[in-house]
């Protein structure tokens, strides 16, 4: 029998606010355990949550960028369960009335477009974490670090519209790109800033009744998502083929073996006893707030891609490369803002800049040559001050020394010679020293023209303006 997989994804996006969702503690990653805590995020008796407005703003941004409806009134709810990393014994989340609903993302896999529905986006707080070894002073015990407790998360839940692991990865990459573009998430998957749970089921092809699904938890790279989903599809098909039954359960992905294993079954599923949190008043969002946020949204990758092709005349490939990350696109647009030509700037970013970054293992934000300074270099080429070839030498020097291009050109005497008198003098000398070839040219052997160009350029140490050299040489050789 042929099977059709059905996949839905739940993505947790850690928001890049400087303080936590319900208190003023810092969200900085990597501080010493429990150093970023207060009565609220420690869940001390009597402490009360106060909503961080920035989190709401970020949630609205995410909702607008994924075509969701923003709820004018949403409600925080308590999700009750006991765990040592959950200080209050409940997580403040949203349940019946989330902030965003009914959105979608358009993806493309091997040239085929598809729309994936987004059921809802809601805000919630993260839990702390348990440290099981190497805890100073605890010996063999476990420690609780609550620095992460109460950091803001968005949970973005897709419709079960995804059918293959590749679609799942395309959806995740798109979502990742959007939240990073929006500047609401640092996108760091290794540190857990963007993590995914995958709901997978299979049904016979042609059926419209979904099979029993499993939920695979915390898959924290695109590659692992693909592996986990593919493994799970294969496993479920196998169970079905052998006449077995898929159990509704939570599974855990093991990156070492690329497999999933059962974590807890349906019978052990929690009854979270959700109810509206009486410590927080319902969140009311005005239309003005939504519209102001919409106006302040950055240009999103989809729109940028279209604009780069239509307005800047770039190829699809160039536009895709340049819009892959907001930082790269901003770098590129920084060069354009300083007056450079779109295509030339694109070639430089995708050529010299990218090569420099790769060779040195740097991100675009760490590029030692700022877009404004690179634009100065491109302007020198445009004006004819230096040739494209010399410019590459200058660029290397800029990268190493941090000096401005004019400075390097002046210091090293790299200014292109366009002075006809000076070039004529060189041509005369070379013609005088190579009378044989002059005769050959005049005798109709035009191939020797290249020889003269090479000689002149060498004599000028590459600084002679090639166009001027061509013109003068031609008229002199023709006599």
């Amino acid at each position: 029998m042929k099977y059709q997989p059905v996949i839905g994804l739940e993505v947790h996006v850690q928001l890049k606010t400087s303080t936590k969702i319900f208190c003023g503690c810092s969200t900085q990653f990597g501080a010493s355990p429990n150093s970023q805590t207060c009565p609220v995020c420690l869940g001390l008796p009597g402490a009360l949550p106060v909503l961080n407005k920035k989190v709401v703003e970020f949630a609205i941004k995410a909702g607008l960028a994924t075509h969701c409806t923003i709820a004018p009134r949403s409600v925080f709810a308590r999700k009750n369960y006991f765990y040592p990393d959950l200080p209050k014994g409940y997580q403040i989340s949203q349940y019946e009335l989330p902030i965003c609903e009914h959105g979608h993302l358009d993806i493309e896999v091997e040239g085929v477009g598809k729309r994936i529905g987004i059921t809802r986006i809601h805000m919630e707080e993260d839990a702390g974490k348990l440290v099981h070894s190497d805890v100073p002073g605890l010996g063999s015990g476990s420690g609780v670090d609550l620095n992460r407790a109460c950091t803001p998360l968005l949970e973005i839940v897709s419709e079960p519209d995804i059918r293959t692991a590749d679609e799942a990865v395309a959806y995740l990459k798109k979502l990742h790109q959007i939240v990073v573009y929006l500047g609401i998430c640092d996108g760091n998957m290794e540190e857990g800033s963007f993590r995914c749970d995958a709901n997978v089921s299979v049904m016979p092809v042609g059926s419209d009744k979904f099979g029993t699904r499993t939920e695979t938890k915390n898959v924290n790279s695109f590659r692992f998502v693909k592996q986990a989903i593919e493994y799970e599809i294969e496993r479920q098909i196998e169970v079905n083929e052998e006449g077995g039954k898929i159990h509704q359960e939570t599974r855990l992905f093991d990156p070492d073996s690329g497999t999933t294993r059962s974590m807890r079954g349906k019978e052990d599923a929690h009854d979270y006893r959700y109810f509206p949190d009486p410590d927080l008043v319902p969140l009311v969002i005005s239309n003005d707030w939504i519209e102001d946020t919409r106006l302040a949204l950055p240009e999103l990758p989809e729109a940028k891609l279209a604009r780069y092709q239509e307005e800047l005349g770039l190829s699809l490939y160039d536009a895709e490369v340049l819009t892959a990350s907001r930082q790269l696109a901003e770098y590129y647009e920084g060069i354009l803002a300083s007056g450079s030509q779109a295509k030339i700037a694109a070639n430089w970013v995708m050529g010299e800049v990218t090569r420099g970054l790769n060779d040195n293992g740097l991100d675009i934000e760490q590029c030692p040559v700022s877009p404004e300074v690179l634009a100065e270099l491109l302007a020198l080429i445009d004006k004819g001050t230096i040739s494209n070839k010399i410019a590459k030498t200058v660029f290397d020097e800029m990268w190493k020394s941090g000096k401005r291009p004019e400075e390097i050109v002046a210091e090293k005497g790299l200014v292109q010679v366009s002075d006809t008198g000076e070039i004529e003098k060189i041509i005369d000398e070379i013609m005088a020293a190579n009378m044989g070839q002059v005769e050959e040219f005049r005798g109709g052997k035009e191939k020797v023209f290249g020889f003269f160009v090479g000689q002149v350029m060498r004599a000028s140490k590459g600084k002679a303006n090639p166009a001027v050299v061509n013109d003068l040489l031609l008229s002199k050789l023709k006599g």
Partner: protein, 485 residues
């Protein structure tokens, strides 16, 4: 008159005129606590040294002319208010050794005005009870008759006033926990509108119902204390941004033309005859002063107790989840595994009534029961709110008994939780409606136990009930009666 018998405003006058120092007043109170608390057990913790230190500070402040109405006044707090560096137990074994690292906002407000903290007062465990019998630190006894309960949950806060151990106290009221003990102990108790006073740093029982309020010797003191603690707190999202009126301006002994509602559901068969008599006398007193009475009906009153015990316990089951032995509070020494540590710590740390309410609330929120219990209770609550608002279209205040009976005997109702729950039948609707209520001494039973009347105001209508309560007090002598210990 002894120093410990003075009201807040009388003490203030003496401090201002330098007839008395805060140290003298504080010493008098500490002496009184020492002499009487063996019998009353109003205090869980007495802060002798800290109190004298603050009194010296206050005297300095008075000498420098930086005096506030509460500067140098010895007060005490229900042990539900977090006090930095001072043990805060909520009358539970769970928090038997808990020293908070921060202060409740209400306490900060009193402290900034120079009030002197004498100590922390007994209560029902986690404010769950109507008699102070569920305290892990022993029952508080009614100063009027030590065989009787003082009421609850703020029993210690009421008993300390009646036993003249503090000039004023703060309590909390979730279903009557300020007004009912005030009535049983013959003092004034004010439950403000929900959102009027910050709950930050007050250990939560039922978050949508809990409210902080004063317990005092007279209505003027209640107005002073409310004015001091009321107001928006950026740390409590449910506290309301609304200016705090000058409650002292409402102290006018004039109720001419005041429309007082009498809800028939509160004057029922089975009301204790002494309570009934006190209410009849009160009505007569008001009528004599020119108030107008209007019969009203609040038909959802019958559902209030059931509604309350679903909402309050549901919230409590979640609020008390943080006591798991992991970060603070009692941790069982007998546990092998994590789950065992958590469940044993809770088993050993919580008393029977707290466990009963956690189980009730957990059940009410459980999948499959939520709609039938919690959600339905919320709908009933909305109806109760609406019927109060409707009543206030016709009347200015509502007059009812505080409790159906005077204080009952210790042990009388401990074996019958339902009977115990019904003792809050007249106070619970006010919490569900989120509005304000005032308990004022209005009579004595044939057994010599105090009886209070309740004035209910519209939301943020504290001024109206303070005025009506003050007028009654001016016309009667009940608030001047003193328990003898």
């Amino acid at each position: 008159m002894e120093i410990f018998e003075l009201t807040v405003h009388e003490l203030h006058e003496k401090l201002k005129k330098k007839e008395l120092s805060s140290v003298e007043a504080t010493e008098a109170m500490l002496g009184r606590i020492e002499a009487t608390d063996g019998k009353v057990n109003a205090f869980i913790t007495v802060c002798n040294e800290e109190a004298l230190e603050s009194a010296r500070e206050a005297d300095k402040r008075i000498a420098e002319g930086r005096m506030d109405i509460l500067t140098g006044i010895p007060i005490a707090l229900k042990d539900i208010f977090l006090t930095k560096g001072i043990r805060t137990t909520c009358a539970s074994r769970m928090l038997g050794n808990f020293i908070p690292p921060y202060d409740a906002t209400a306490w900060i407000k009193l402290k900034e005005r120079g009030a002197v903290l004498l100590g922390k007062l007994n209560q029902d465990e986690f404010a769950m009870g109507s008699s102070c019998e569920s305290s892990a630190f022993g029952t508080t006894r009614n100063p009027w008759n030590q065989e009787c309960i003082p009421g609850g949950s703020s029993g210690g806060s009421a008993a300390a006033i009646a036993a003249q151990q503090a000039a004023a106290t703060l309590g909390t009221d979730t279903g009557g926990s300020i007004r009912q003990p005030a009535s049983h102990c013959g003092c004034v108790g004010l439950k403000p509108t929900y959102g009027r006073v910050s709950r930050y740093g007050v250990i939560a029982y039922a978050s949508s119902l809990d409210q902080v309020g004063p317990m005092t010797r007279d209505v003027r003191d209640a107005a002073i204390m409310l004015g001091a603690v009321a107001g928006h707190d950026p740390l409590d999202s449910t506290s309301v941004e609304r200016p705090v009126p000058d409650y002292l301006g409402s102290l006018l002994p004039d109720v001419k033309g005041l429309k007082i509602g009498l809800p028939k559901e509160y004057y029922i068969e089975g009301l204790d005859p002494d309570v009934k008599k006190a209410m009849e006398l009160a009505i007569e007193t008001y009528r004599g002063m020119g108030a107008e009475f209007i019969d009203i009906s609040l038909p959802y009153t019958d559902y209030a107790v059931a509604c309350y015990y679903l909402i309050a316990t549901a919230e409590a089951s979640s609020n008390l989840a943080r006591y798991d032995g992991v970060r603070f509070g009692h941790r069982s020494g007998k546990a092998g595994s994590l789950i065992e540590m958590m469940s044993r710590s809770r088993d050993e740390g919580f008393g029977a009534e707290v466990k009963r309410r956690i189980m009730l609330g957990t059940y009410a929120l459980s999948s499959g029961y939520y709609d039938a219990y919690y959600l339905k209770a919320q709908k009933v609550r909305t109806l109760i709110m609406q019927e109060f608002l409707k009543a206030f279209e016709k009347v200015d205040v509502i007059l009812t008994p505080v409790a159906p009976t005077p204080a009952f005997k210790i042990g009388e109702k401990t074996s019958d939780p339902l009977q115990m729950y019904l003792s809050d039948i007249f106070t619970i609707p006010v919490n569900l409606a989120g509005t304000c209520g005032l308990s004022v001494p209005a009579g004595m039973s044939s057994d010599g136990l105090p009886i209070g009347l309740q004035l209910i105001g519209r939301p943020f209508g504290e001024e109206a009930i303070i005025r009506a309560g003050y007028a009654f007090e001016q016309a009667t002598e009940w608030h001047k009666k003193k328990a003898t210990i």
